[in-house]
């Protein structure tokens, strides 16, 4: 049970946050403003330190020392002129801001995590700033197009705008004598009209540059249950699997190890009865242990006890499939230890394989994993358990049908394998 709980919670837990030294050289009380909007610096810093374990340092040397010693996996240095340069982005004299990242490459896996996290955070920051720069650019374009007031270097200017310019020029046109002068005026009017029409398109274009790809998420396969419920399902299914599989396979192999099988089946009980009794024993014990475990986990996680009936259905169906598989293993093994070892060696890897998500491996390998997982009761039992615990889980009916097929298949296999027990 302990292993099952650990496995369940381990797979649902996110990766450990990398420790990163954080040096902020930007002077206090410096505001960051893009396009007239002030950015919430404190909130941005909190978000950053939520994603990584920020170890505050007071100097660049301290940051490098910590990286070199391995105390942190990397360092993030925000230079003193960062805010100033970000502020310049929406001005007419923009400068590109830079941050410094120092990474310890001794642990390539975690260094990669730091790189990915920082890259992700900077992408988010860049996107935020780009939106505001685009908005400012769009405002400038609007000014050029429609006219208005412009503040530059402390002075206020009136800007006529292309629309008004074209209109003024159009009004002046009749007063200009035919000839070269009017022809030149016509060219200016045409330019102003063309510029007005095309600059109308520049606003959406700037917005598109600021966010070239927009995520539009569509969920096509139902909603996923909460992660803690999934973790509990995994833990409960592991418990049910080990209890039932090991009990049934071991107790059936015991009949052979103790030489009692031939004596029992000489007329005291039929082979089918013996098999059924072992399965019922396994399912009964599995049910009790799993329900007790769920009741214990209720101390840590809220479970929906209104769905208790569905839990029982899921446990009974899953337990019966594990018991049938255990009977097949027990009937094939000559002694208890061999049966237990075989059950363990088969069940654990296949159960863990069943947890591999799509996309984690290549498509061909994933198809193979899916086939293997479908031949063993863990995956459908997990689906049934998840569906029993939470309405957002997978289809309970499909899982029960899958389990019923496996019960029939493994039961038949066990019955056939029992013929070997008669050999003296």
């Amino acid at each position: 049970m302990l292993i099952a709980i650990l496995v369940g919670f381990a797979i649902s837990r996110g990766p450990e946050k990398p420790r990163v030294a954080f040096l902020n050289e930007v002077p206090k009380d410096t505001s960051v403003s893009v396009g007239g909007d002030t950015l919430d610096v404190v909130n941005a810093r909190n978000q950053l330190c939520h994603r990584i374990d920020c170890i505050r340092v007071s100097s660049r040397k301290e940051a490098i020392d910590k990286v070199r010693s391995g105390d942190v996996l990397g360092a993030l240095v925000l230079p003193a002129n960062l805010a100033e340069k970000i502020n310049s982005l929406a001005s007419l004299t923009p400068e590109q801001p830079k941050v410094e990242v120092i990474v310890n490459e001794e642990d390539p896996l975690k260094a990669q995590i730091v790189d990915d996290r920082i890259s992700s955070l900077l992408t988010e920051a860049n996107l935020l700033i780009a939106r505001r720069v685009a908005r400012t650019g769009s405002d400038y374009l609007g000014l050029i197009l429609n006219g208005g007031h412009l503040n530059f270097l402390g002075q206020k200017f009136d800007v006529l705008g292309l629309r008004t310019s074209a209109r003024v020029l159009q009004a002046l046109r009749p007063a200009v004598p035919r000839g070269a002068l009017r022809q030149s005026l016509d060219e200016v009017v045409r330019f102003a009209t063309l510029a007005r029409d095309n600059l109308d398109l520049a606003g959406p274009l700037l917005n598109a540059v600021a966010e070239p790809i927009k995520v539009d998420k569509h969920v096509i396969n139902g909603s996923a249950p909460p992660l803690d419920i999934f973790a509990i399902s995994v833990a409960a299914t592991f418990t049910l699997m080990f209890v039932t599989l090991l009990l049934v396979s071991g107790s059936l192999a015991l009949e052979r190890e103790e030489n009692a099988f031939a004596r029992l089946t000489r007329g005291l009980v039929s082979r089918l009865e013996l098999l059924a009794e072992k399965v019922v024993l396994g399912v009964g014990v599995g049910l009790v242990v799993t329900v007790l475990m769920l009741a214990g986990l209720e101390l840590f996680v809220d479970l929906d006890w209104a769905r208790f009936g569905l839990w029982i259905v899921a446990i009974l169906a899953g337990g019966a499939a594990f018991a049938a598989a255990g009977a097949a293993i027990g009937a094939g093994a000559r002694e208890v230890r061999a049966a237990s070892l075989l059950a363990f060696m088969l069940a654990l890897p296949i159960a863990l394989l069943s947890l591999v998500p799509s996309g984690a491996v290549g498509p061909g390998l994933y198809d193979v994993i899916k086939v293997i997982a479908a031949l063993f009761p863990f995956k459908p039992a997990l689906d049934a358990m998840t569906a029993g615990l939470d309405e957002a889980g997978p289809s309970l009916g499909a899982a029960l049908l899958h389990l019923a097929i496996l019960i029939l298949a493994y039961g038949t296999l066990a019955r056939l394998a029992l013929r070997r027990f008669t050999a003296l």
């Binding site: 015991l254 103790e258 030489n259 031939a262 004596r263 000489r266 008669t422 003296l424």
Partner: protein, 245 residues
């Protein structure tokens, strides 16, 4: 005029038993019979078909040909290796099988069997802690739970020391004296001569001899006279040799 003795009641009769495992023939038309209270030793070299024959008599295997008559009903079967739950006590094993046999008063049956085996004082001992001889006695007692007219013992004394063997055979002889027909297989030729009233010699699935130990000596004297005065095991080996085995 003296009255002719009443014919002994037949407890078991086998006719033309044949058993094949693929191309290999394990039994080739075995015929024999045993009477009530008889003690029949089935002997022969390794692979002769002794265990196959007893398994067919016990109903564990089905013969490909031939038939078995059991006028006195049930056959009790005691496998070569003790068929007991070693983690249970002697009493628990007896009670479990008494219940499975459908005894109305399992506790009384357990008490009777413990008395029969002389293991009343070891009733609470785990079977795994009992000696091989005592385990075999419990094993036989379980074979007797169905009150069989015929008891089949597959090499019952294997692995026992001489003292345990002697106690085991005392127990078996007492059963036969009460009217139980005992059919046992053994590799121990002296044991077969000493405890078997009749001998059934088989080799390569074929019946070579069916009669008394004295009858086998007469056959040996006729077929292999040089071994006639030797010990029974030597005479038996000479007999097999003369018959091509």
């Amino acid at each position: 005029m003296a009255e002719a003795p009443a014919p002994a009641a037949t407890a078991l009769e086998a006719r033309g038993l044949v058993k094949r495992y693929g191309d290999r023939i394990a039994l080739r038309g075995i015929d024999f019979s045993a009477e009530a209270g008889d003690r029949l030793a089935v002997i022969g070299p390794n692979g002769a078909g002794k265990t196959t024959l007893l398994s067919i008599l016990a109903g564990i295997l089905q013969p490909d040909e031939g038939e078995i008559h059991l006028p006195r009903g049930e056959v009790g079967w005691v496998p070569q290796q003790a068929a007991l739950y070693r983690r249970l006590t002697a009493e628990e094993n007896l009670r479990l099988f008494a219940r499975l046999e459908g005894h109305e008063d399992p506790d009384a049956t357990v008490a009777e069997m413990l008395e029969l085996t002389g293991l009343e004082d070891r009733r609470h001992d785990q079977v795994a802690r009992l000696s091989g001889g005592n385990q075999q006695r419990i094993n036989i007692a379980i074979g007797l739970l169905a009150r069989p007219g015929v008891l089949l013992l597959d090499e019952p004394s294997v692995g026992l020391d001489p003292r345990q063997r002697a106690r085991l055979w005392d127990f078996v002889l007492a059963l036969a004296e009460r009217g139980t027909t005992v059919i046992f297989s053994t590799h121990n030729i002296q044991e077969a001569e000493r405890y078997g009233r009749g001998l059934l010699v088989i080799a390569d699935g074929e019946r070579l001899f069916d009669g008394s130990p004295a009858g086998l000596r007469e056959v040996v004297a006729a077929e292999a006279p040089e071994a006639a005065d030797r010990d029974f095991e030597t005479a038996f080996v000479a007999f097999l040799h003369h018959r091509g085995h």
